[in-house]
């Protein structure tokens, strides 16, 4: 009888612990912005998947490249067909960790430093970014932005449109998580 109690308490403890630790979003926002003197190009993705574990500080983000919406339909087609090759490399992912987890959780600092690896177009590079983080019982909001160098991900921009597409694009993310599951 005593054994059963211990087992039940243990199960209860582990289950509730996981429930409070993880936060997820299925419709996070990530946009990128390319500025050149010739033109500005912006694309928005509102179907970003992101999960944060505040016990370990681990973070994972995943999105479908085809979900980026452009102002001009032809740009979107060229992005998927010619540059990103969405059929071959459908997803972009980020796996990382909140480096200053203690500070963030204690509420000392509202800025999280996230460090990890970003994969786009089948290439992976290290990435560190800073962003505003707010955590409550029901939500975890992360707002950040960082620069991505197009050439680092082996994305070839033909010389004829090189003046229209920036070498570095600014990526902005706003991720409103809620408890998982």
């Amino acid at each position: 009888m005593q054994l059963l109690h211990i087992v039940l308490w243990f199960l209860l403890f582990t289950l509730t612990a996981t429930a409070q630790d993880q936060f997820i979003t299925r419709n996070g926002y990530i946009s990128f912005f390319s500025h050149t003197p010739v033109e500005d190009i912006e694309a928005v993705n509102n179907q970003v998947l992101s999960i944060v574990d505040i016990k370990t500080g681990e973070v994972a983000v995943s999105l479908l490249m085809k979900s980026f919406q452009f102002e001009k339909a032809l740009m979107q087609e060229h992005f998927n067909e010619n540059y990103i090759e969405s059929d071959k490399y459908p997803k972009a992912t980020f796996q990382g960790k909140i480096m200053n987890l203690k500070e963030v959780l204690s509420g000392e600092k509202g800025v999280a430093t996230v460090s990890g690896e970003l994969s786009i177009h089948g290439r992976t590079n290290p990435l560190t970014m800073e962003g505003k983080i707010t955590i409550s019982d029901r939500t975890l909001r992360f707002e950040g932005s960082f620069m991505v160098t197009v050439a680092d991900y082996d994305i070839k921009i033909p010389s004829i449109v090189a003046r229209n597409i920036a070498r570095e694009v600014r990526v902005t993310c706003i991720l409103d998580h809620h408890p998982y599951p």
Binding site: L3, I6, V7, F10, T14, A17, T18, D21, Q22, I24, R26, Y29, V44, N46, Q47, L49, S50, I51, D53, K55, T56, E58, V59, A60, V61, S62, L64, K66, Q69, F70, E71, K72, A73, L74, E77, H78, N80, E81, N82, Y83, E85, D87, K88, T93, Q95, G96, K97, G116, K156, P158, I160, V161, N164, I174, Y180
Partner: protein
């Protein structure tokens, strides 16, 4: 007592191994399961709205106005006297407007026969992959063409109706993989304009075409139209077009070699008389410039 000790050891082991310490990879696995099952439409089966001379299944997105300039020179086997065909030319200007993502309407004018043409093109079915996949794309096309060249004697001036031809096409294509796309185009042409009294009014043809992507910007195309009941009085040949697509931003540039000097369906399918393999080859090009008249609606939450 002994069993109880073992039990605790197992329990501690379980806590270490299976406790709530998830790694980044585990989180990625959770996201993997969360990916909604989506259906994605297969885009860019062809780069242009034409494979070479004839139409492809492609239509432009809503609000795009395409200005299309098509040009065919004379026969390259005309020799130096004709500067290898460059002396002669047929040019077609057209404005092609995508009223919706599926519907395009267009008007055009060709210098050959001083023809005016118009078409309506509707994307009926679209190839898709994912949750609800569909194997092919199908676009239907209806076009009409009017010849306005004054090639008649003043006393027997034909009515405009007698100088018309109508075309109906079903364009059926499949993007086999990211590089290869194939299309068949069953075609029916109704000719009011006859060269000789016994000429057929109803002409049936089958178009076959394909494209092979070479690089992200360049593709090669081939297109052939087989005419099942050619007009006997002019003994026409079947139109064959080989081409290269070069895409740059808002332009598509198509460079072609073809035995057809015209670009409208009734004409290149039923009136082509040059023989490709005897060297009656015309150099040609299609240039399109897309203008975005309507801004795309965006679901913006922020």
């Amino acid at each position: 007592m002994k069993t109880r000790k073992w039990f605790f050891i197992l329990l501690i082991g379980f806590m270490i191994l299976g406790g709530p310490s998830t790694s980044g990879q585990d989180l990625m696995d959770i996201l993997e399961e969360e990916i909604p099952e989506t259906t994605s439409m297969v885009a860019a089966t062809f780069k242009g709205t034409r494979i070479g001379t004839g139409h492809s299944v492609e239509t432009r997105k809503r609000g795009v106005l395409e200005f299309l300039i098509s040009h065919r020179f004379g026969r390259t086997n005309g020799g130096f006297y004709e500067l290898f065909g460059l002396d002669e030319s047929n040019i077609r200007f057209a404005l092609e407007y995508a009223a919706t993502d599926r519907l395009t309407v267009a008007v055009g004018r060709s210098s050959f026969d001083k023809s005016y043409d118009g078409y309506i093109k509707y994307r009926l079915l679209q190839q898709s992959s994912g949750a609800q996949s569909f194997p092919i794309s199908m676009t239907i096309l209806g076009s009409l063409a009017a010849k306005t060249l004054k090639d008649y004697l003043p006393e027997d001036k034909p009515s405009l109706g007698d100088r018309m031809a109508y075309t109906a096409q079903a364009l059926i294509a499949r993007k086999i993989n990211e590089n290869l796309s194939l299309q068949i185009s069953p075609t029916y042409i109704h000719r009011k304009e006859l060269f000789a009294p016994g000429d057929p009014k109803h002409i049936f043809a089958l178009g076959m075409g394909g494209r092979m992507k070479i690089t992200s910007q360049v593709a090669i195309n081939a297109e052939y139209y087989h005419n099942f009941n050619p007009i006997p009085s002019i003994s026409p040949t079947n139109a064959l077009t080989l081409g290269i697509d070069i895409e740059t931003g808002g332009h598509v540039f198509q460079l072609l070699l073809t035995n057809a000097i015209t670009m409208i369906e009734k004409s290149f399918i039923t009136e082509t008389r040059d023989e490709f393999f005897k060297g009656d080859i015309h150099l040609g090009f299609n240039i399109s410039r897309a203008f975005h008249l309507a801004k795309k609606e965006r679901r913006s939450q922020w």
